[in-house]
């Protein structure tokens, strides 16, 4: 905005480059975003994340004028050249306005000063910053627009440099508050008592938004026709937004701090940033992350922006030990207090009135009486005196003890059960898998999950083996030896025994151990190679049903179920279907698995599937029940006992010990004006509102999409309450409540400013993967590209200062959307390539459907760490680098992880010292690529790396199998697929290409 006014030449204004030199705040801002990820970014970002200031500061560089402009009333700006609206948003003024809205009266004060000072101050900052920054920005800008032409090389190098310099600024910002103070934005940190959080954020955003304009093609800023700009090819990778930079900036700005959820609509730190979260009235972002924290007030606006309004809810997310676990509220026999009309649960959004005798529901506005036992007086602020004593009044997340009304048949549930169902067909016996499982279970069963306060686990266990028939085992503690009961009626399977099937492991230890010893021998000379599948699940479900409890099945299965039985599958993997309208059928289940899944969900039976395929097993069908029931699918291709058992056992251990809830129903309630319309995840929906999950564990996330019903109210915001009714590990029925409040705004800029790309990608991935069941993949891909372009175009059109059509302008919060989107498009699920096994695609599809934001982030943009230059003194994981081959070096070693696999890539000329340190072999040539783990060596380097591996692994649900890849050796191809910024061997576009493409789309949309 200001830019325009500022720069005579549109190009400049838009593209940071020119501006950079000039230093108009706006321009600088743009530029920051734009600029290279590294350098420009770093500088701005820090600011961004923490406060607007940084931005201003970098941007300001030259631009006092712009600053002035900003301050100057909108009209000016508008007048200056661009449509009034846009500028408004971006300009300084708007943010304050918002602030005013959002903040208490307190803030208003800040407002006035804020604006003024910022303008005045900014220059100062700039000055300070300028030194370092000046060059980089200029270059960046140069780089970008000109990119097509030649500048890139230098730019790169510069960028590289810049990147480093960039950091300092950040630091400064962080540390510099001193000088900064004048700037209102900065103030937030030091802290205005009233709304420190707010100020900064908004302030930040304001500028940010404005900033992120990428003039992408813009060789000639002025050149409107840049679109055509074929030159894109040469676009300098360093000049385009870098995810790593974004992540690092956020880490630097917010990492290690306490993030208190005390404000509606505040944008949490990125998932990649470690910080301590304090629940102060809104659910922690570990539980709920939204695609945007500010909803547009009208559906028209929403349609215009096409930003999905969604929340990714991970109701059982694990919280680190230094955060408070959920409080348990027990209201005795009356049960939780709920709004009479909408049934929302008592939460901080309820307003107490009439001296505390009644309360108004924040969701439906219904006025309810406060039950006698719950009555409490209000203080002078109108807040209940016991506000801080009751979690349901002061916290975003907490649990209720449910009464029998919330139980099946009004009977308190039995403790859940785990049933282990082992495929004992020829292959599993021969591979030694059965023995491995049995041996492991003997010790693992001691570690069944339990509630914190309990001594032993209430979970009972049962055992089934099967090939084409089922064998149940009676392991009642009173028996001398286990009894085997064979059920051959697989067409209509049933549970042959009740008493003695599900037992307490402690009590039946000797019989169970005896059984586990015997199972491998019992089938040692089996020659049965056919297996059944659906009847096994059915049997497990029936067993749970008969025992009247919820539970989880652990299936260990290896082959396509071809035996004559329900759920028999045939090999239908047909590569000819790829890229046709029928491709979707590959992802659709065969047979009647849907009905089975439905039954399982209805009976609270979660199915965990461990697959050990050697060929096509139709994951799309076999995994369906797993997905619908909230189970987890694990897949070990060509399982080799030696190589793969650590991975498998680690998965198994982790899975068994997971904290989880059973037989869960989730309901998402919203305040008036919008509602949840679509749900994605490892869930089953019987109707349009109740999300049913046979079980839900800490890694499962449900993505919920919202749509407008009506106009939203900017004052009251958009409130969301997610209630999960479930059975705990000990068999207690509970309701877990997560509340979060979002802002509403009539300004699109506010919406863009509070977007979260990671959540957006999560949403896009899930919705796309759901869509491929019913639409041709090409359509789905097109929709994704289209929507990306649309969102960005809308931003450019409505929020960014007017710029040449040729400029690519990205909102700050969506800087990395294109690269992530490209990763999504390149993911094997959406890539119709015959080289990719169908099962692999189905498998990934399933996994992602259940993933939370952190997992999708890592999955789509893998973590790539240089490890040749580890700092052995610090504990920290080294800074990641971008996933591109250019970032690798022959002399280096790199670790790549995406949540499913891990690679250790060794450059051809990696130092022998490193090799010795890691592998204990003398040279590169001696390294065996067979190994799936690193030897435990007693040297700091090895230990450090091990530590890093463990750290990466620790938060991920799947155990990543490590693969050692040597540069220029065959398996490297596999590794390269994960260098997601590069052109994929399967034809996926490189980041740069995609950016060009998107830009073209945007330009088309805008023209």
């Amino acid at each position: 905005m200001s830019q325009q006014g500022y720069v005579a030449a549109p190009p400049y204004s838009q593209s940071q480059p020119g501006i950079g030199g000039f230093g108009p705040p706006n321009s600088s801002i743009h530029y920051g975003h734009y600029g290279d990820p590294n350098s420009s970014y770093s500088a701005p970002q820090p600011g961004v994340s923490k406060s607007a200031v940084p931005f201003g500061s970098p941007a300001p560089v030259g631009p006092p004028p712009p600053g002035a402009q900003q301050f100057s009333p909108n009209s000016f700006q508008n007048g200056s050249g661009t449509p009034g609206q846009q500028p408004q948003r971006f300009q300084g003024p708007p943010p304050p306005a918002q602030l005013a809205d959002q903040l208490n009266s307190m803030q208003i004060n800040s407002y006035g000063p804020g604006t003024a000072p910022s303008s005045s101050v900014s220059p100062g900052h700039r000055a300070a910053f300028q030194g370092p920054q000046v060059l980089p920005p200029a270059q960046q800008q140069m780089g970008l627009p000109p990119a097509p032409q030649l500048p890139p090389p230098p730019a790169n190098s510069v960028n590289g440099l810049c990147a480093q310099p960039a950091l300092p600024p950040v630091a400064r910002q962080g540390g510099i508050p001193g000088p900064v103070p004048p700037n209102p934005n900065l103030q937030h940190l030091p802290g205005q008592p009233p709304g420190p959080g707010y100020h900064p954020q908004q302030a930040n955003y304001g500028p940010q938004m404005a900033a992120p304009q990428l003039s992408y093609p813009g060789a000639f800023p002025g050149g409107p026709a840049q679109l055509a700009g074929p030159p894109q090819k040469k676009l300098d990778p360093d000049s385009i937004p870098s995810p790593i930079q974004v992540i690092e900036n956020d880490k630097a700005a917010r990492g290690g701090q306490v993030y208190a959820t005390n404000t509606r609509g505040q944008v949490p730190p990125l998932v990649t940033t470690n910080c301590v979260i304090q629940d102060q009235g809104h659910a922690s972002p570990r539980y709920i992350r939204c695609t945007t924290y500010c909803f547009p007030v009208t559906s028209d606006m929403a349609k215009q922006a096409r930003i999905p309004l969604a929340a990714v809810i991970q109701p059982f997310a694990a919280v680190p030990p230094n955060e408070t676990p959920l409080y348990l509220v027990n209201h005795g026999e009356t049960g939780p207090i709920r709004c009479n009309r909408c049934k929302a649960y008592m939460c901080p959004f309820m307003q107490f009135i009439e001296g505390g005798r009644r309360y108004q529901c924040g969701f439906c506005n219904c006025i309810n009486d406060v039950p006698q036992f719950f009555f409490q007086h209000l203080d002078h602020m109108g807040r209940r005196i016991d506000h801080y004593e009751r979690p349901e009044l002061s916290l975003g997340s907490y649990e209720y003890v449910a009464t029998s009304d919330y139980c099946r048949d009004k009977k308190p549930p039995n403790p859940p059960a785990f049933i282990f169902m082992i495929d004992v067909s020829y292959r599993n016996i021969k591979s030694g898998l059965v023995k491995l499982i049995c041996d492991e279970l003997k010790t693992l069963l001691d570690k069944l999950p339990r509630e914190e306060q309990e001594e032993s686990s209430a979970i009972r266990v049962g055992f089934v083996t099967y090939n084409k028939v089922l064998h149940f085992f009676n392991v009642k503690s009173s028996l001398a030896q286990p009894q085997m009961m064979v059920v051959t009626d697989v067409a209509e399977v049933f549970v042959p025994l009740l008493d003695g099937f599900l037992v307490d492991f402690e009590e039946s230890r000797s019989v169970v151990t005896n059984l586990l010893d015997q199972i491998p021998e019992l089938f040692a000379d089996t020659n049965e190679s056919e297996t059944i599948f659906a009847p096994v699940i059915q049997a497990g479900m029936e067993a749970l049903k008969a025992a009247e409890c919820a539970g989880k099945l652990f299936l260990f299965h290896s082959s396509l179920p071809t035996a004559e039985a329900p759920g028999k599958l045939k090999n239908r993997d047909d590569k000819k279907l790829l890229n046709t309208d029928k491709e979707k059928t590959l992802f659709q289940p065969q047979g009647n698995y849907e009905a089975l899944a439905k039954d399982c969900v209805a009976n609270g039976c979660c199915v965990n599937l461990f697959l050990f395929p050697t060929q096509y097993v139709d994951v799309a069908s076999m995994g369906l029940v797993t997905m619908y029931t909230g189970g987890t699918l694990y897949k070990y291709n060509n399982f080799q006992l030696d190589a793969d058992s650590p991975q498998f056992l680690s998965d198994l251990r982790k899975d068994i010990q997971k904290k989880m809830g059973f037989d869960a129903t989730m309901r998402v309630r919203t305040s008036t004006g919008f509602r949840a319309t679509d749900f994605f995840g490892a869930i089953y929906m019987n109707n349009t509102t109740d999300v049913e999950m046979a079980a839900v564990d800490c890694d499962k996330a449900v993505t919920v999409e919202f749509k407008h019903d009506d106009k939203l109210n900017e004052d009251t915001g958009a409130l969301i309450q997610c209630a999960v009714l479930y059975t705990s590990l000990s068999g207690q029925r509970r309701i877990r409540i997560h509340n979060i409040g979002l802002n509403c705004s009539s300004q699109l800029a506010d919406v863009y400013r509070t977007c979260e790309t990671d959540a957006l990608i999560n949403f896009f991935a899930k919705s796309a993967f759901k869509a491929i069941l019913s639409q041709p993949l090409k359509t789905v891909r097109d929709i994704l590209v289209n929507q990306t372009a649309h969102m960005l175009a809308c931003y450019k059109k409505n929020c960014a200062s007017p710029a040449a059509v040729s400029q690519l302008i990205l909102p700050d919060t969506m800087k990395v959307l294109p690269v992530y989107m490209n990763c999504l498009l390149k993911s094997c699920v959406l890539a119709s390539r015959p080289e990719i096994p169908t099962d692999e695609r189905a498998f990934h599809r399933q996994l992602i459907m259940a993933m939370g934001v952190a997992d999708t982030q890592l999955f789509f943009y893998p973590l790539l760490l240089p490890i040749h230059s580890l700092d052995l003194k610090s504990d920290a994981v080294p800074a990641a680098i971008r996933c591109s081959e250019e970032r690798l070096s022959e002399g280096g070693a790199f670790l790549l992880a995406n949540g499913l696999r891990m690679f250790l890539w060794l450059g051809a000329s990696v130092s022998s010292e490193l090799i010795q340190g890691l592998f204990n072999v003398p040279s590169f040539a001696h390294i065996s690529t067979e190994a799936t783990s690193l030897p435990d060596l007693d040297n700091p380097f090895s230990k450090k790396l091990k530590h890093i591996l463990a750290q990466i692994q620790s938060q991920k649900p799947h155990t990543m199998k490590l693969m050692v890849v040597k540069q220029r050796e065959q398996p490297e191809m596999l590794f390269r697929q994960f260098l997601v910024e590069d052109k994929s061997i399967y034809g996926g576009a490189s980041y740069v290409d995609f950016l060009v493409c998107i830009h073209k789309e945007i330009s088309q949309l805008l023209s």
């Binding site: 085997m484 064979v486 042959p496 025994l497 020659n527």
Partner: protein
Amino acid sequence: MATYLEFIQQNEERDGVRFSWNVWPSSRLEATRMVVPLACLLTPLKERLDLPPVQYEPVLCSRPTCKAVLNPLCQVDYRAKLWACNFCFQRNQFPPAYAGISEVNQPAELMPQFSTIEYIVQRGPQTPLIFLYVVDTCLEEEDLQALKESLQMSLSLLPPDALVGLITFGRMVQVHELSCEGISKSYVFRGTKDLAAKQIQDMLGLSRPAVPMQQGRPLQTPEQPVISSRFLQPVHKIDMNLTDLLGELQRDPWPVTQGKRPLRSTGVALSIAVGLLEGTFPNTGARIMLFTGGPPTQGPGMVVGDELKTPIRSWHDIEKDNARFMKKATKHYETLANRSAANGHCIDIYACALDQTGLLEMKCCANLTGGHMVMGDSFNTSLFKQTFQRVFSKGYNGEFRMAFGANLDVKTSRELKIAGAIGPCISLNAKGPCVSENELGIGGTSQWKICSLDPSTTLAIYFEVVNQHNAPIPQGGRGAVQFVTQYQHSSTQRRIRVTTIARNWADAQTQLQHIEAAFDQEAAAVLMARLGVYRAESEEGPDVLRWLDRQLIRLCQKFGQYNKDDPNSFRLSESFSLYPQFIFHLRRSPFLQVFNNSPDESSYYRHHFARQDLTQSLIMIQPILYAYSFHGPPEPVLLDSSSILPDRILLMDTFFQIVIYLGETIAQWQKAGYQDMPEYENFKHLLQAPLDDAQEILQTRFPMPRYIHTEHGGSQARFLLSKVNPSQTHNNLYAWGQSFGQQNS
């Protein structure tokens, strides 16, 4: 008459045959006028101490439609080495082995005293006996324990090489695999699903060649590699295993809520047992032994729902057509029985419960296959325990008194045709020239299959005289009947017993007194009773009674001598004198009267009636009453209330019950303890005498009768009072008592 009595007795002892008429009316018309059909009671395996089996094959008539066995009635041309079949008159060459025969060197089958002869043939594989226990586990703990002990005990009674199998059932059905070590293994089936034989065999893994399943186990016998299965193992091998298994048998673990019957899948259990044997040992003698402690309550063959508030069907319900499950259940068990019978397997039912157990529906299983049916109150009674033990009793030669898979073939000379048979058999549908179109009992065939039989198993076989009135039989002509019974002896040998008998023809118009004199009223009574009971299975009770009455009237009309309108002039000849009395008691018997009997009891009684030999049948029709007193040695007395006297001890044997009844005075003496006083030792002896006699009956009776010891005025006295002819009733008793009183006064 003495001669006829002797003749009859001799015939019975030698051939196991009792004919209703021992001289046959020579034309169809005459025969029908005789009222009682020409029929016989045949005990195919009557125990013959003096009959050593011959070790060769019988010589058969070469006419394909005849195949009668060479017998003493055949005309033999010793010189030409030819013999003429006495049924079809075909002339046959003796086989080469008979080259040396002559008038003085006859093979046994030509000697008149060998009108019944037994051959041992060495054909086909010999398979061990097979016993498949099908055990209900929905029992009270005490009952189950007793049953387990009985079963364990029975293992020691089986021949060591016999194959045994175990199926247990409750809510589910478990087929136990007996050969596994370390872990007991069983195949489980849902109790509610009816499975086809093929499915069962597939599910048990029997449909594939058995060889792979036998890995690690030596084969039974080299010559029969395929016939075996994991589920049926030789007793000597798995004796210990099975004993342990039975010992560990638990009550059905599925919870039974208040007011419900346990879910009992008898129908499926039986179906699986039948399917198992069908798949593994078709056409081999095998015994399915079903032990059940209650009615089937679920699945195919269910007899009553599991709600205790709905009682099990009664005769009343059945008459009102209110027995919901009866037809379906009956059909289920009939199908099973027929399948089982077709494979030569028999089904025993041991039902012990205080309430009904569904014998009515299941009866066909035992009836059609020749299995035993035993009904008791509890498995923990000596009645059951001893009865069960007796199943495995051995005959005089140390062989089990059981035979399997018998095939009875009846051949008649051309004046006779076969109308049918009544007994524990099924038709083999062998049509032929000697099969009558008129059916009596199971007809339309000349061959029947009796899957299991013992030396007392007796069939009634009915004939029809087809000779036309205008085609007189030449003087001295004789009609002949040959019974050929092929069976599997308990020693697993295949044997053939051949009985050939002949009787004279007589023209009823001229020689009625011969015919009359040759009437065997005992056999006739039993034969008529079997017909009556057979009809009662399918017809309304009153209809049967009317039919019986009419038959009796017609018989009396035919053979009685009387002056019209003068009842006192009525006389029957001695050979008919007892017959009306038999029919009188038959009318009152539980075989035809359902009052006071549950449908199960009726089925049980009828079952036994249809298979016992003549003596036992007569006891059933008209219980025997012995009186013991100081007035003389024990004597049989009339089954009449007038026989009940204060100073008598009565012993009544109804076959199903043995009642010892102390007369009023005797009872008082006993209470006073006279028997313990040395001076009244004779009284002690008197008390002891009926006990000893009862013991003797108990020794041999199968099934064990209910043993009742009661006295005048005792509650159990009703067993006696219900049986005796009420010549003194409350109506005339009073008068009689009064007169007695008057006498006293």
